[in-house]
């Protein structure tokens, strides 16, 4: 496994952990690519140079399959599988773009945007911003039917940790923080509380980060794609929420 860890590269996120296994050759958008058995289609697509947008995927964490942005089409298979949780197969033929995929990805992103502070998007440089660029939608139209629905914009703003904040308004419930605390740090301080739309990231037994078992290793901050968990030091004037924009 350690050879897999050493295949990680700074500045590149392959989406799922690199594997160490027998070579498998497949094609992505017609481009042949060879990766180790056990790798995900998402990783293979990245290596082939075909960008598949993602949010809940990270190459330091096991695939989770919750954001549903990285959907692809696979020849001979029904539906639109998530490329992060689909292992490569010899001879597989993958398509990363199509009208339907664009429509589905846009549809998913619109759902995210319907519960995200609009003022935090322009000028932002988070992984969410990158994904918005790749999918091609950054805001909901003024008359979009999803506007003014239920949301978490008034949710928890936890400033208890001296070094980072947790702002629920920007949380997209991708669980990368929970998974980082489990798989990388091993402290298991975070979890998702509640279910369905009420799902929310909490520390410990719904305590503040400082009171919980959190050891402030920063793995969750490192993992968070939407800046819901972010260093206070990046806000010289102090951390502020954007005005609620889902009115």
């Amino acid at each position: 496994m350690w050879s897999e860890l050493r295949a990680l590269r700074d500045g590149i996120d392959l989406g799922t952990p690199p594997r160490d296994g027998e070579p498998v050759t497949l094609s992505v958008d017609g481009i042949p690519v060879t990766v180790a058995a056990g790798s995900s289609v998402l990783l293979a697509a990245g290596i082939a140079g075909c960008t598949v947008p993602k949010l809940c995927a990270s190459d330091t964490l096991e695939a989770f399959g919750s954001c549903r942005v990285c959907l692809v089409e696979i020849e001979g298979r029904r539906g639109y599988p998530a490329s992060c949780t689909t292992p490569v197969d010899e001879g597989m033929q993958v398509r990363t773009t199509s009208d339907m995929l664009a429509k589905l990805r846009r549809g998913v992103i619109e759902l995210y945007l319907s519960d995200f502070p609009e003022g935090d998007i322009d000028g932002g440089w988070s992984q969410l911003n990158t994904t918005l660029d790749q999918v091609g939608v950054h805001r909901l139209a003024d008359d979009h039917p999803y506007r003014s629905g239920a949301n978490h914009q008034g949710g928890v703003l936890d400033m208890s940790n001296p070094y980072f904040v947790f702002d629920q308004a920007k949380c997209i419930v991708c669980s990368r923080c929970v998974r980082a605390c489990e798989e990388i740090q091993g402290t298991f301080a975070l979890t998702i509380d509640g279910r369905g739309f009420g799902s929310t990231v909490v520390a410990g037994q719904n305590e503040s980060f400082l009171e919980s078992d959190c050891v402030s290793c920063g793995a969750c901050v490192q993992a968070c794609p939407s800046d819901a968990l972010i260093e206070k030091s990046l806000f010289p004037g102090g951390y502020e929420r954007a005005d609620s924009s889902q009115a």
Partner: protein, 702 residues
């Protein structure tokens, strides 16, 4: 403004704190560091970090930073700011005067394990070409010097045999006297990953530490032995291995000295090391000892990680030798997933060990008495060198108290807070005529200094660190040194002031010099490290990009040697006056003497040292959680608040040593390791009594 500042520059460097040596990216905006993020390609950490390296970097710009060189005639005088040249001239002048008056051996130096390899090398060069003696030591004296002695004696090399990732190939992990989840957190997380994937965890530690029991990671055997009985218990484990024939005979015959092995077998095989005898004396169930021994021997891949809980004892070196013996006997050396690994605490203490910062050794652990090695350095430095071993730091203090040692150049060390027997250290320093301290801030030690040279943090200089895996990584300058000179430049200035002309344009030239003179580093260079990211020594023609696992084919001396390890109980005994045993350790958020971390927001988690005491012992003394108590030993006393904790067994109390005012080292004993003088910090007989009025009591009695 809800949009975060975007860093405009990112520079890869190595963490300033512990011996894991995580790779980091220092991200700056407009020349100011805005955050440190873990480097995914760091082979020690693979993109992970802990609270210290990740967030606690503000110490570098704390107002307490010393900003200018300062001198004073007497330590009662106020400091006077001077230029660098004046400081160097004054310091060197004093040292030379002292040598003329009291003799060449009346001055010495101590290097810092928090400084770079290049800087430590230059400190030992300072002693040898500047002072013309071998009075040079380093802080591993007080922590891992027994590792140096014990592992060299058995395996032939005093360093970790594996790289950290090797633990993912381990089936059995034996942790002795260490608490990786607190002391080496990123490595601790890797260990937990291995345990979650099915590795068996065995722990030998008086306390029920976080390593013993944390979510989804629990030791299958925990030997909570009485402090001071390490060698007894390790010999008992060996007893089981020998009497139940669990050893790897093929390995021992092929790779080790069989005669030594037979002698060892008859020592540990003796009835007095049987678990039935040892168990009661060490406070353990005999069957637990047997189970641990059997699991370790069965492997298939068993690895050992140990820390100061082994070394900081009067039989510290013996304890290390026990571990080396055990690994050799069971054939757990020389491949992935096995080995014997000291968890080096400081960011560059391994460097300190390797680079000759010893009174008796040059770089690469070669003796000063060896003429051939001396010739190498005489050739390189173009100067005759002293062939007599010099004074160890404790000896320097002894000599100072006796009146024959008068001058000391201390780089990045705070012996008054860190070293044992504080009163003795203070008396020694007071007796000296010139104490030169190079540090980031004023410390307990600078109260006794005559020259204060402002040091540079690892964010302010270029160089390399060697972590606990023997991994040499780059330290890069992110911001300019506060007082204008990087630490290595200061030592070069001191060397020149002593009359030896020396110039380097860049620290890479220092590493080149190390490579020229030290076989284990012969292939090392800044260029190589920058190209491949990091290099584990030995790095030479046989291993041009470094060596991950040691002892794969032979041991450095050919065969491994089994050393005899008879148990000699420490002289430190409990009695009616001092019925409890005090042991010490670290916590995650604070680092060692707390010099750096106390100047960051990490105080939010831990803002004072606290004494852990069991419910039984607390009840007997009428104590409740949070009470202030007096902790007294035969050597001194101090005052602390208590926490009633299930982590310590009755009879044992525990505290950390991160806060200067606690002065725990005023309480610990004078006793030390027979081979290396490493202080026995881990076993002190104490009594704990309630303080009835509020007030700080810290008194040293002897």
């Amino acid at each position: 403004m809800p949009i975060p500042v975007k860093p405009d520059q990112s520079t890869i460097t190595t963490c300033a704190y512990c011996g894991v040596g995580c790779g980091f990216k220092a991200e700056t905006s407009g020349g100011q560091i805005v955050r440190m993020t873990p480097w995914k390609e760091g082979k020690a950490n693979h993109g992970h970090s802990c609270v210290k390296g990740r967030f606690a970097f503000d110490y570098y710009r704390h107002p307490d930073r010393v900003r200018s060189p300062m001198i004073r005639v007497s330590i009662e005088d106020p400091w006077r700011e001077v230029s660098w040249d004046e400081a160097f001239a004054h310091a060197a002048g004093e040292l030379k005067r002292i040598q003329e008056t009291y003799g060449s051996g009346s001055v010495g130096a101590v290097s810092s394990s928090r400084c770079t390899n290049e800087e430590i090398y230059l400190m030992q060069k300072f002693a040898r070409v500047g002072l013309r003696n071998n009075n040079i030591d380093n802080c591993s004296r007080i922590c891992h010097s027994p590792t140096q002695f014990g592992l060299s004696a058995t395996l032939g090399a005093g360093a970790a045999s594996q790289h950290f990732d090797s633990i993912l190939r381990s089936d059995v992990i034996l942790v002795v006297g260490a608490n990786p989840t607190e002391g080496h957190p990123v490595f601790g997380s890797m260990m937990k990953r291995s345990v979650r994937r099915g590795a068996n965890l065995l722990v030998i530690d008086p306390r029920r530490t976080e390593t013993v029991d944390s979510p989804h990671c629990r030791a299958s055997v925990h030997l909570a032995l009485r402090p001071g009985t390490n060698v007894l218990v390790l010999d008992s484990i060996a007893h089981v291995v020998v009497t139940e024939r669990l050893y790897d005979e093929a390995f021992v015959r092929a790779r080790c000295d069989w005669d030594d092995f037979e002698l060892w077998m008859s020592q540990v095989g003796d009835a007095r090391y049987s678990p039935d005898v040892v168990g009661p004396e060490a406070g353990l169930e005999p069957d637990d000892i047997r189970e641990l021994a059997r699991r370790y021997a069965a492997g298939p891949n068993s690895t050992i990680y140990y820390g100061l809980g082994v070394t900081e004892h009067s039989q510290g070196s013996t304890g290390v030798m026990c571990l080396g013996n055990l690994a050799m006997a069971c054939g757990m050396i020389g491949r992935e997933g096995v080995g014997v690994n000291p968890l080096r605490g400081q960011g560059n203490v391994q460097g300190g060990s390797c680079l000759g910062s010893w009174p008796h050794m040059f770089t690469g652990y070669r003796f000063v008495t060896d003429a051939a090695t001396r010739a190498v350095f005489e050739n390189e430095w173009k100067i005759d060198l002293d062939g007599e071993p010099g004074l160890r730091l404790p000896n320097m203090f002894d000599a100072a108290v006796a009146g024959s040692f008068k001058g000391l150049y201390i780089q990045g060390e705070d012996p008054v807070q860190s070293d044992p027997n504080r009163h003795h250290v203070e008396a020694a320093l007071r007796n000296m005529e010139c104490v030169i301290v190079q540090d980031l801030y004023e410390t307990e030690t600078t109260k006794f200094a005559h020259v204060l040279l402002p040091g540079s943090s690892s964010l302010e200089k270029n160089g390399t660190f060697t972590n606990a895996e023997r991994r040499v990584s780059m330290v890069r300058k992110i911001v300019e040194p506060v007082a204008g000179l990087e630490d290595w430049e200061i030592t070069v200035g001191m060397i020149n002031a002593m009359g030896y002309e020396l110039k380097y344009d860049h620290p890479s030239e220092v590493l080149d010099e190390i490579a020229r003179t030290s076989p284990a580093y012969s292939g090392m260079s800044f260029e190589l490290i920058e190209r491949v990211g990091s290099v584990q020594w030995p790095c030479n023609t046989a291993a041009p990009e470094g060596t991950e696992v040691l002892h794969t084919v032979t041991f450095p001396r050919g065969k491994g040697s089994f050393m005899l390890t008879e148990y000699v109980p420490t002289k430190e005994r409990v009695d009616d006056r001092f019925p409890l045993l005090l042991t010490t350790g670290r916590i995650l958020s604070q680092y060692n003497a707390g010099t750096q971390t106390r100047r960051t927001a990490n105080n939010a988690w831990y803002d004072d040292d606290v004494l852990d005491i069991s419910a039984d012992d607390a009840a007997q003394r009428g104590l409740r959680n949070g009470d202030r108590v007096r902790v007294a030993s035969r050597y001194g006393e101090t005052e602390l608040s208590i926490t009633v904790s299930g982590r310590v067994h009755p009879g044992v109390v525990y505290t950390t040593f991160h806060f200067a005012h606690t002065m725990v080292n005023a309480v610990t004993s004078d006793l030390n390791d027979w081979a290396t003088n490493c202080p026995e910090y881990k076993v002190t007989a104490v009594e704990v009594t309630k303080v009835t009025k509020v007030g700080k009591v810290t008194k040293v009695t002897s």
